[in-house]
């Protein structure tokens, strides 16, 4: 067997993998969302999800806020890390990754015990005669949970891009009279756009479809779309057809959002070059 054939061979494993674990499940989601419990063709599921538009909108709103906050917090942080000594950079990165070694569920659970009315934060404030502050089961707590859980996904891609920016470009900008503010806004920021775009995508997509965070930190009174889908499969309202239809619409919305983000990604570098 020649070498070329060999490579095709290796690819076929991935094709089989994709077929079994991506294409077929996607097909099943489409199939379930277009059938009723008896397997007959129907548009009812898609029609019914119109009722839950507020849930979609609030999920999008929450995750957009969380993504924006992640960007505001994450960008300066990524920039600062990229400026310190290489040995220190590794330490910083380890500290960012460290919480991710612990299960997502546990981390969210930990926030619950921190934010509760009799939780650690309120106990601390009560030492000074302050509080108790009502923090758990609020919208702010949900956003906090999202920002906390997804912040590393924003920092790391931005950091990766910033460290790869050619130092000579910055030096050239300075030679041409740009002050440090101009260097950041007109050189570094546009050049780090690919990192920002992938950071936003990596935060927004999991945040919009997340579940558990809103039930644990938000009290479950304001369901997010992920919780609504979970309710159709594991919760009390077992209805996989409606659940699939909800997932399908969510997928379409995410695809469009990614398309929008890609617009900002592609061509940014060429534009600067021009």
């Amino acid at each position: 067997m020649n070498k070329k054939n060999n490579k095709k061979y290796l690819a076929s494993v991935y094709i089989v993998w994709m077929l079994i674990f991506t294409i077929i499940p996607l097909g099943l989601v489409v199939y379930f969302s277009l059938t009723d419990t008896n397997g007959a063709f129907t548009f009812d599921n898609l029609k019914n999800i119109g009722e839950y538009t507020p849930v979609f909108l609030s999920s999008i709103k929450f995750s957009a806020i969380a993504t924006a906050l992640c960007l505001v917090l994450g960008y300066p942080f990524a920039y600062i890390i990229s400026k310190v000594k290489a040995s220190k950079q590794t330490v910083f990165l380890i500290f960012i990754m460290l919480p991710m070694w612990i299960n997502f569920l546990l981390r969210t659970y930990a926030w619950m015990t921190l934010l509760e009315n009799n939780g650690l934060i309120n106990k601390f404030f009560s030492l000074f005669g302050l509080g108790p502050f009502h923090m758990i089961n609020t919208k702010g707590a949900v956003v906090l949970g999202m920002v906390y859980n997804f912040l590393p996904y924003m920092i790391i891609p931005i950091y990766n891009v910033i460290t790869k920016i050619d130092k000579n470009v910055i030096v050239a900008a300075q030679d041409l009279g740009a002050n440090s503010f101009n260097v950041i806004t007109r050189v570094i920021f546009p050049l780090s756009m690919p990192g920002i775009v992938s950071g936003i995508t990596m935060v927004f997509v999991p945040a919009v479809s997340t579940f558990i965070i809103s039930t644990m930190l938000g009290g479950g009174s304001n369901l997010m779309i992920g919780d609504l889908i979970e309710l159709q499969f594991l919760g009390g309202s077992y209805d996989p057809n409606l659940g699939s239809a909800l997932s399908l619409v969510l997928m379409v919305l995410i695809l469009i959002s990614m398309g929008i983000m890609n617009e900002f990604d592609s061509g940014e570098e060429e534009m600067i070059a021009i």
Binding site: K47, G50, E116, N118, N222, L223, L228, G235, S237, G259
Partner: protein, 389 residues
């Protein structure tokens, strides 16, 4: 051809992965509620380990959070459990769906230990498919410190009392949540009147602004931590909570229907280890094991020999063992007819999620998104062209 050979290898590998574990040996797979069997902690025996030591049968043990979760997993196929421990209404649903195997009681001599109260119940009138594991009642657990003086706790209305806004926990499980509403309204928990279900759903929607959180197992943590004033809860777990936090107390309101439940051991149809499964059930019914389970769970035991082994304090605990008088108002869930079941699911989703949107609004949202995309793409093309010039 090498290619086909590799492909065949792949298929064989898949086959081995999925069927290899079902080779006939002395083992059983048990699917039970979480924290529902003594596991060697807190000074209790490890029941599964004891069983393996005694019989040499290996026990694979996994757990679920709700009847619905268990049912979903089983009806999805691809899993092979031998024993499950569903609740009453789920047992009748599983019988109706032909999912359970008939149990040969001749192989379970300890069945004689089961008290008559737990035999021939509505969900399995002929005792063909199930052997009672434990039972219990649903009432209201409350924190004495957080209850304002003068509040009447002897009524389900207290769960709708606006004075406790943000201090009420509610079941995240549809059947249990609806049962609370029916208890308040005074309807049967098994009503098949659609209007009554809609009324109950409206009650739950009315309650939603007052609810701090919808939870199941977390009710225990939150009540012990003093996070909430009121919650509906299962009597046995309430006893466990009260041992941890002395401010907690439990009440089953008088003059209102309430839920009494029975969880029972069943063998699944198609089980390849039926004989071993029956041995396991027989082992669970040993008086000493029954005593351990009852002490661990604080739920009333259906095992009359095990009951005799309990301390008099446990035997006389009015929460675990309510009086005959109280139990007159108790109702056991039965399986609902399919159309009511469907209605329940829809109503529950509409209680939990904001369902005020109209049929076309989601299409509008998608359209708006797509339009935004098109606009941005268009705008960027123009900029690019300008810069190029």
């Amino acid at each position: 051809m090498k290619k086909t050979a590799l492909f065949l290898c792949f298929i064989i590998l898949l086959g081995v992965l999925s069927f290899g574990s079902s080779a006939k040996n002395r083992e059983i797979t048990v699917y039970n509620w979480g924290e529902y069997l003594p596991d060697g902690t807190d000074g209790f025996v490890d029941v599964n380990k004891l069983f393996t030591e005694k019989t040499g049968i290996k026990v694979n043990y996994s757990t679920y959070q709700s009847n619905e979760e268990m049912f979903t997993k089983l009806s999805g196929g691809g899993v092979s459990y031998d024993i499950v421990i569903p609740s009453d209404y789920m047992i009748s649903k599983m019988i109706a769906n032909d999912m359970l195997a008939e149990i040969n009681l001749k192989n379970i001599p300890n069945y004689k230990n089961i008290s008559d109260d737990f035999k021939s119940l509505e969900y399995d009138p002929e005792n063909k498919y199930s052997v009672a594991y434990t039972g219990g009642t649903v009432g209201i657990i409350y924190n004495k410190k957080l209850i304002k003086p003068g509040t009447d706790l002897n009524t389900w209305d207290v769960m709708w009392n606006p004075e406790y806004k943000g201090q009420i926990l509610m079941f995240a499980n549809s059947r249990d949540a609806f049962a609370c509403a029916f208890s308040k309204l005074g309807y049967s928990l098994n009503t098949t009147d659609k209007q009554q279900w809609i009324e109950a759903a409206n009650q739950l929607k009315k309650q939603k602004p007052l609810v701090q959180s919808y939870a199941m197992d977390q009710i225990m943590d939150k009540m012990i931590a003093g996070e909430a004033a009121l919650a509906p809860y299962y009597a046995g777990d309430a006893v466990t909570c009260m041992a941890e936090n002395e401010d907690l107390d439990f009440i089953i309101p008088d003059n209102a229907v309430f839920n009494r439940f029975v969880d029972a051991m069943c063998i699944l149809k198609g089980s390849e280890h039926k004989r071993e499964a029956e041995e396991y059930i027989n082992f669970i019914l040993e008086p000493e094991i029954g005593e351990q389970i009852a002490s661990y769970l604080n739920y009333p035991t259906p095992n009359k020999e095990a009951f005799k082994l309990l301390s008099s304090e446990q035997q006389n605990n009015p929460i675990s063992y309510p009086s005959e008088e109280k139990l007159k108002n108790a109702e056991v869930f039965i399986n609902l007819p399919p159309e009511i079941d469907e209605l329940q699911k829809d109503l529950w989703t509409s209680v939990r999620a904001d369902s005020s949107g109209s049929a076309w609004s989601i299409a509008m949202v998608i359209f708006a998104f797509a339009l935004l995309w098109a606009l941005i793409a268009f705008y960027r093309r123009i900029i690019k062209r300008k810069k190029f010039k």
